[in-house]
Each structure stands twice: as C-alpha cells, then as structure tokens.
Symmetry: C2
Subunit: 278 residues, 2 copies
Amino acid sequence: MTEGFGDRLQQHLRERGPLCVGIDPSRSLIESWGRHDTVEGLEFFCLAVLEAIIDTVAVIKPQVAFFERFGSQGYRVLERVMSEARDADLLIIADAKRGDVDTTNDGYAEAWLSEGSPLRADAMTVSPYLGFESLAPILHLARATGRGVFVLAATSNVEGRVIQSARTQDGRSVESFVLEEIRRCNQPDEGLGPFGAVLGATRDRPQFALETLKGPYLVPGVGSQGGTPENVARVFERCPEGSVLASVSRAILQAGPERSSLRDAARRWRDDLAHALT
Amino acid sequence: MTEGFGDRLQQHLRERGPLCVGIDPSRSLIESWGRHDTVEGLEFFCLAVLEAIIDTVAVIKPQVAFFERFGSQGYRVLERVMSEARDADLLIIADAKRGDVDTTNDGYAEAWLSEGSPLRADAMTVSPYLGFESLAPILHLARATGRGVFVLAATSNVEGRVIQSARTQDGRSVESFVLEEIRRCNQPDEGLGPFGAVLGATRDRPQFALETLKGPYLVPGVGSQGGTPENVARVFERCPEGSVLASVSRAILQAGPERSSLRDAARRWRDDLAHALT
C-alpha cells in the first residue's frame, strides 16, 4: 500500500458513501437471528452480513470483543471475515480499543497493522489512557505500512464524560488534548492524514475546531444509540468531504438474517448519511 | 469458586509471597533466548517460563498483546499456557487492558471471566477511558463467578500522567476518581474485595488513602522500569498484608532460557519483595 490510509479512506467514502457497518456479533443479536450463540453461529452471522453489504458500503468495523469471547476459535472466524472483506476491497477498521505502555503497544501494532499478520486491518481503534505518547509504536507502524489509527477522543456514551471532560494541568479538556495530539501527528501538507479520532455523534461540538484535524473522524453512536445523520452533519459541518465516517451497527444488523433486508437497511443509512453530509 | 477473588489472592500471597511474574513474550525477549519469533518460539518461551516458576510464585500475568500479534494461533498458545497454570494452582491475571461501552464490555467479560471460556482467568485488567460505569458488566460477571478486576488508575509510565492527573469537574484527579469508584464497588464488610487497582511502583503516593481501597493492588514498574521493592513498600506501607502484588517481568525473563536461572531470579525477587513488604 503506497497511498496513505487517509487518502484511501477518502476515496472510498467518495465512491461508496460515508457509512461504516459495525459488525457486532453479540449474543443477543445472534440469538435474535434464531441461531445459537456458538462459534458456528458467530461465523454464520458475520459472513451473512458481509455478503449482504459487500457492494453497498465502503468500510466495515468488526467489534473485536464479540469475537474474543470465543477465544482462539473466535479469532479464527475474525481472520476469515477480514480475509473475505479484503478480497472484496472493503476497508476494515478493527474496533479493538487497545492501549498499553509503549513496549507493549508494539505487540498490538504488530497484531493489527503489520503486513504479515492474519489480523491486519486498514486501521484500528486505540485508547489513550496510558498516555498519547505511549501510542507512538502504533502510530509509527501505521504510517510505515500505509495504515491508520483512530484514537478515542470523546466517545458516544455518557459514562465517558467524567474522564474525557476532565482538565489537564494546562487547562485543556482531555478530549481536546487528544484531538490536538492527533493533529500534531498528521503531516501538515498531505491530503487527509492517517490518524483520526473517535468522536461520538451524540456529543455537542467540542471546543477543538474539528475541521483542523487533518485526519478522519470515526463517528459511533448513530442509529440505536440515538444519533441521527443530521446530528453527524451538524457536529462535523465544516470538515472536508470524505473525512467523516459514521458507524451504524445494531440498527442495520437487527434487520437480518434476510440478506435483502440487511442490504436495504444498509442502503437506507448510507443514502441518508450521504444526503445529510453533502 | 465460592470464595471471592480478593480472599483467594490474599491467601496465595501469604503462602507464596507477593510476586506476580509478568509473562511478556515480546519479539526481543524471544530472540534474546536464541529462538525465532514464531508461534513455536512463543510457545516454547511461555512453557519454559511456566515450568521454571511453577513452584515459586503465586500469580502469573500474561500480557495479551504479545500473544495477539500471532492472531488465532497466538491465542491458542495463550489458552494452553492458561490451562497449564490453572492445573498448577497458579492464579492468572490476564493483562488485557480492555475497555469499551457497556454492551461491548459484556463481550470482554465473557471472554476473560466466564466459566466456560477457554481464556478464563482469575482476574483481568481493564481501562476506564470510556467511563468507570461502563465497566459494570465486567465487574458484575467477576463478582458472580468469584473472579476479580484490576482497573487502571495510575500506570507506571510517565506518559500516562497527562490524563491520569487531569481534574474532573468536582476537582478530583482522574486517578483518585478511579480509586474511589473501585472502593465504592468493593463490599464494605468482606475481607479483601474482588476489585483492585493498577498503580505503578514508580509513582508518588496519591492523595487517595491507599489502605482504604478494600481491594488488592497490582503494581507494575518493578525491575526493569526502575521500581524497587522498597518503592513498593513505601507507597503501600499501610495496606493490609497480602493485598499488594508486585509484577516483575523483564528482570526475570531475561535470565532465561536456563530454567534454573529463571527460577533463581524469580526467587530472589519474591524474597526481596516479601522482605520489604513485611
């Protein structure tokens, strides 16, 4: 991959719309499809979703937690899902929210962003609780392999406010600190940089001028969590075209197991988002 | 498991000393043992460490990142290591630092703390960036299955200070907020509760009165990161006996691959820690 992640993402969003389908094979969703919550049920669920949306969306976001609950066998399914998505030219964001001290982050970088890994994604989500600087090995490998990183800034859930709105010693909110660090890491004169932020659609606009990030936004909280395409459009109104990726999960997945219903739901969300964001 | 995690941990520490061996099979450590950094090298490394320390220590702490870099095959090795540790009555803390919104944390709880999971540990580490309350499903399953949770409060690395020392709206530091929440979740009249904190040995004493947590401390940063048994003793001086677990990794692992050298290194650290902490 010679092109950077930001540019590849932007191209995909321009061609296929600003929707990311969150693949969240939770027990309750698998059972709501009339399947048992087993490794076989997991695999059936994920491959059905993939098949239904493969020509409709630009990006998928597998939620790693729901694979991890089956241990190594769950990871085998995740590897298969990622392999099929790669073959179909879908971009993959591994929603892993990893984060540790820097020497340990080397391991997470290798898992999700290195060329030879069976779990390699186009981008991964990471958590900055152990310090933004401790993420350096992940950011470094992402840049080296043409991949991307979305750092948690302000998440879509209200419980996150206590820590994310706390004030650092120089008076900034934690979320603003994270956003400024992301901007600092994106190179100034490229198109869209490889480092993005996770910023919930259910949030007010933060103080940080969102259009200056020089990287993409991954926007959860759309659909079942209450965020609408209009919320997304309002929060990110001045951001460049193709830099805002809204993630919808349950509101689409609960339309299954019928492939046509899944596809219709994904198309509706994609079109509504595309309409609101232009 | 009818007894709670805190009480089981305390019993183990009283019998076998306050040392936790961090199993960190990084590329550099595996190669420093003269092995290739492959799944086979990973398995050899971990089983050798386990064999060497099995009668010497109370607790092991596998660092999940270093298994995850090999995808499903790495997780298969982790499952084997955990299974052998369980058979030897070692307590296992899965150092995973997971954390997401509550519905997703259900998945992580199932992975690491449910009875039927191949990855079940005695306790896991979690990150509170998405809110302490979002951890509820993890805390809940831990209590229900007699397992424990260590929440990141103040980590051993300096990069973590910006966010961990930020001030919440009511003027507390983030780390104090986390410690107070942990205390609130431990039942008032039991022995040692199941919910603990990760608190680095390289830190100054925080404002929070550490002896009031009613749960255990997992203390990284000892050994290669510069923390000494005396640091640990000073920071936690008023805490109950058997509630402080110091984690040493590289300073022991680099003594390998000779089993006897590994064992000697583990014994030395265990005895020095036991001496300092009494």
